[in-house]
């Protein structure tokens, strides 16, 4: 009943989705790796970015891919401001407080979007979802192929930024030893906010890559945020390559799970996986520190 070609197609489609998941997770893992906090508002911010893409594309008639760079810049600034002037000061440097502050933000953002756009599910008009490319025996969606390419490219850029630039060096220094970095003249609050902004910029890119084939409603981020947490834990908290591999893996697992388990219980699969990962491999599959 499941021929090899169907399974192969599911695996490839899983990889394509997984790359975008990885991008969402990348933002989360970056923030965790440097600030050592879990940003609970990550999903709500993604939803926000998806609505922004929807509005830019439907309202102003902008091409989705052209909307990504300005939105990414905007989210970089937004994230910077959020961390510097809201999350940082409000949580008094306590991790439990940060979790609650970001939870509060996520509730406010999610319901703000609900009040503005109502609970309707929206998609981009146009037939991008049916635009397919033939690859051997498989039919693959062109927007998802583009999504895969861009996601990998952004991950690479981020890695280059962290490895090669002064800002990247400062970020890595703060991640390793906050006090030492501060003594060396690095403004830790600035680096925290910058990292948070970079995480949000990843979300803006991911939103642009998702929208052509996905839908948006005020609660859509919730599904993504747990997927992203699962990936981050799987890949090892704070690890960039781990997030990328974890994302691809989760994409494939979800795709195959949907194929074998069906839609309604397949949803539970991601949460069960998350629980199992936390209980059994809290240090991540690749053995990074917990």
């Amino acid at each position: 009943m499941y021929t090899p070609s169907i399974i192969a197609e599911a695996v490839v489609n899983g990889l394509l989705t997984g790359a975008v998941y990885a991008l969402v997770a990348l933002g989360l893992t970056l923030v965790y790796g440097v600030l050592h906090i879990i940003n609970f508002a990550h999903g709500a911010l993604l939803t926000c970015a998806m609505f922004a893409i929807w509005a830019l594309s439907e309202g102003l008639g902008l091409n989705v891919y052209l909307a990504i760079p300005p939105l990414a810049l905007l989210f970089l600034g937004l994230g910077y401001a959020l961390q510097r002037w809201v999350i940082g000061p409000a949580s008094h440097g306590d991790d439990g407080n940060t979790l609650l502050v970001t939870l509060g933000l996520s509730i406010a953002i999610e319901n703000g979007l609900l009040a503005l756009f109502h609970a309707d599910t929206r998609t981009l008009s146009g037939d991008a979802a049916f635009d397919v490319v033939e690859l051997g025996p498989m039919l693959l969606s062109r927007p998802r192929l583009i999504g895969f390419g861009v996601a990998v490219l952004v991950a690479l850029l981020l890695w280059l930024l962290l490895a090669g630039t002064d800002a990247g060096k400062a970020i890595r220094a703060v991640a390793k030893e906050k006090m030492g970095a501060s003594l060396a003249g690095i403004d830790v609050r600035h680096i925290y906010a910058l990292t948070f902004g970079l995480g949000c910029a990843c979300l803006a890119v991911a939103a642009g890559l998702l929208m052509p084939t996905f839908y948006v409603n005020p609660r859509v981020g919730n599904a993504f945020v747990l997927v992203a947490f699962t990936i981050v834990v799987l890949g090892g908290m704070g690890s960039v390559p781990g997030a990328l591999l974890g994302g691809l893996l989760i994409g494939v697992v979800e795709s195959l799970g949907g194929l074998f388990l069906g839609e309604s219980l397949g949803q539970a699969g991601i949460f069960v996986l998350f629980i199992l990962v936390l209980l059994l491999r809290p240090a991540g599959l690749f053995g990074a520190r917990a």
């Binding site: 879990i38 409000a90 991790d95 609650l100 939870l103 509730i107 999610e110 949460f271 936390l278």
Partner: protein
């Protein structure tokens, strides 16, 4: 609770006890909802406030209490009071299970918060899919108004029962806070390693806290089922109750026995007021709740009860 905060708590309880005798149905509805959230929040406080671990998924206990109460009656003909008691026991059991799995794996802080959230979501999806719980159509309890059946002709009677539950848990919380168990909870909350060095069995202490917490929040779920006589997965296991239970505690005063009561009443009053001013815009009250959560942590980490205590202490001096 210190002696300073006793007078305001007694006053609030007195008002809550008298109001149902005179109030209109809408007022009583408001009171019962607020009291149910209070009870759920008291459960959250026993774990998160007294012992330390923050849960983002108390819906897991609320929903279990609600569904066990309702399913036993509607499918197996069990008496409603017995069903209610079974719901409370089931809440403790689920608490024990989640606690045993996650505390034994050493999950703390954010990790624990996230795993409780994931458990609640799994329960919600399963309850939404299987026939036992009525699936997505939900579960309607048969209207059969007899006190023996935990259904009352007057709404006031129900408000008093809810109030009695809240007072009972308040008394329990005070007793725990003053007793040996409360000291153990506090030791674990402040520093697990130090608590272990003092000879406290950290795992057992946390398990006690989460079982108690699960039972109390499950009682809130059971009351919900009996009052509204309808359940579906998004009500019983929905994130709204996880959020409100936590928020009521943070706003009211974390770790104080009376905090959940103050917090739930304040939040519900505020929610109603927002609906009054903002009209029918869905979600606007929750936007406010989210901002209050941020504001409470930023500016009033001790909550209403904490601020009251400081105020009363200053006044007496």
């Amino acid at each position: 609770m210190s002696k300073h905060a006793f007078a305001p708590v007694a006053l609030v309880l007195l008002v809550l006890a008298v109001v149902p005798a005179f109030a209109a149905n809408t007022t009583i509805n408001f009171l019962v909802s607020a009291l149910i959230v209070t009870l759920a929040a008291q459960g959250w406080n026993l774990l998160g406030g007294f012992c330390g671990p923050f849960s983002f998924g108390h819906a897991a206990f609320f929903g279990t209490g609600a569904y066990v109460t309702a399913v036993l009656q509607s499918r197996y003909g069990v008496n409603a009071w017995v069903g209610f008691a079974a719901g409370i026991a089931a809440g403790a059991l689920v608490g024990g299970l989640i606690g045993w799995l996650s505390f034994r794996a050493g999950l703390r802080g954010s990790y624990f918060a996230l795993i409780t959230l994931a458990f609640a979501e799994v329960f919600r999806i399963v309850a939404n899919a299987i026939p036992l719980t009525g699936g997505a159509t939900g579960l309607l309890l048969k209207l059969d108004v007899r006190p023996a059946n935990f259904q009352f002709a007057s709404r006031a009677a129900f408000a008093w029962i809810a109030l009695a539950c809240v007072v009972a848990v308040l008394a329990l919380s005070i007793a725990i806070a003053r007793g040996r168990l409360g000291a153990q909870f506090a030791a674990v909350r402040e520093n697990e390693d130090a608590a272990r060095a003092l000879g406290i069995d950290v795992l057992a202490t946390k398990l006690r806290a989460i079982c108690l917490s699960g039972a109390v929040t499950a009682a809130a779920g059971g009351l919900y089922a009996q009052y509204f006589l309808y359940l579906d997965a998004n009500i019983a296991y929905g994130s709204w109750i996880s959020v409100e239970a936590l928020l009521a505690v943070i706003v009211g005063g974390i770790g104080t026995p009376a905090g959940p009561l103050f917090g739930a009443l304040a939040l519900h009053a505020l929610g109603e007021a927002t609906k009054l001013f903002a009209g029918a815009i869905t979600g606007i009250d929750l936007v406010l709740f989210g901002l209050i959560l941020v504001g409470a942590i930023a500016f009033a980490p001790a909550g209403i009860a904490g601020s009251l205590q400081t105020l009363m202490a200053r006044w007496r001096r």
